[in-house]
């Protein structure tokens, strides 16, 4: 086997690995949007009934959303954090993920900013903390 053939074989293996990674990414994305969801089950033994539904969690406000199978409108997706977001207007205006709130809360723990509502959101999904703290950390 020549050095050149080894290099060619390596290159084709790398190409296959890239393709596999791309397919996995697409599958992951599809699962998150269409299939890979949370699970809610409510049993009512009196009526012998079981309600089962998929759920999604809003990446921004953290609300658990029970999915309506009859819904025709498209669901919302944040292109910044690449996650599902609920219908609340505040969750669709800007990207303020729950995890960013966790990071800020940890960063400012023990300071005078520790009481800032980094994780809760207003009823309309709007952020409640001083956004200047967020903007200092923001990379996009």
């Amino acid at each position: 086997m020549t050095w050149q053939s080894i290099q060619e074989a390596t290159r084709s293996l790398e190409a296959i690995a890239r393709d596999v990674a791309k397919v996995r990414q697409v599958e992951l994305f599809r699962n998150r949007v269409r299939g890979g969801r949370g699970y809610l089950r409510i049993e009512n033994p009196l009526e012998n009934s079981v309600f089962e539904a998929d759920t999604l969690t809003c990446s921004h406000c953290g609300t658990i959303v029970i999915l309506n199978k009859e819904r025709k409108r498209a669901r919302n997706w944040c292109r910044h954090c690449n996650c599902y977001v609920c219908d609340r207007p505040g969750c669709n205006i800007d990207c303020n993920p729950q995890l960013q709130g966790v990071e800020l809360a940890l960063k400012y723990a023990g300071t005078d900013k520790a009481g800032q509502p980094f994780l809760p959101r207003g009823y309309d999904g709007s952020v409640l903390f001083d956004t200047r703290l967020r903007d200092k950390e923001r990379v996009y």
């Binding site: 998150r32 699970y39 033994p45 009196l46 709130g101 809360a105 940890l106 809760p120 009823y123």
Partner: protein, 159 residues
């Protein structure tokens, strides 16, 4: 990461509106983090134990004021090899917590006469709390309306 279970057995909810303050002991199930801990909720189970049909509207919400001097209970490790959890849970405090007037994280309606609710998020879609300080550091599972007796379990992963 280590996962832990918290359980509050056979408690009678009180209908708490948003901003309800100084919640009475044994009318809620709260989970609290420490300054250095962060957790994400991975499972909620509510089992109804009422003796007649009662609709309970159970809710998972954040707190605007943490409970003062809570009676901490130890969270049970799901894996016996886990280190002890930093977080604790409580159902009683010298002064009960105050519920935040913010979005409700989860609403679970059920018939407390034997009804059962279970919610499990997929990986990456959990509800987070961190760093102890209100309103970021605690969660409460309680009733918005309905007072049928329930038992509740809340599982979390500490990160």
């Amino acid at each position: 990461m280590a996962t832990f279970a918290t359980a509050a057995n056979g408690w009678t909810p009180i209908a708490h509106a948003d901003a309800a303050s100084a919640l009475a002991s044994n009318s809620y199930h709260a989970v609290r983090t420490e300054t250095t801990s962060t957790l994400k909720v991975t499972d909620i189970i509510i089992g109804g134990e009422a003796t007649s049909s009662t609709v309970n509207r159970m809710s998972l919400r954040r707190l605007s004021t943490n409970g003062a001097t809570p009676t901490d209970q130890t969270c049970a490790a799901m894996n016996p090899l886990s280190q002890a959890a930093l977080a604790n849970f409580y159902v009683a405090a010298t002064t009960g917590p105050t519920i935040a007037s913010t979005v409700h994280l989860g609403m679970f309606s059920m018939n407390a006469f034997g009804g059962v609710v279970r919610w499990v998020p997929p990986p990456g879609e959990e509800v987070w709390i961190t760093a102890a300080t209100a309103p970021n550091g605690e969660l409460v599972l309680d009733s918005i309306s309905g007072i049928g007796v329930v038992s509740t379990s809340l599982m979390f992963e500490e990160v």
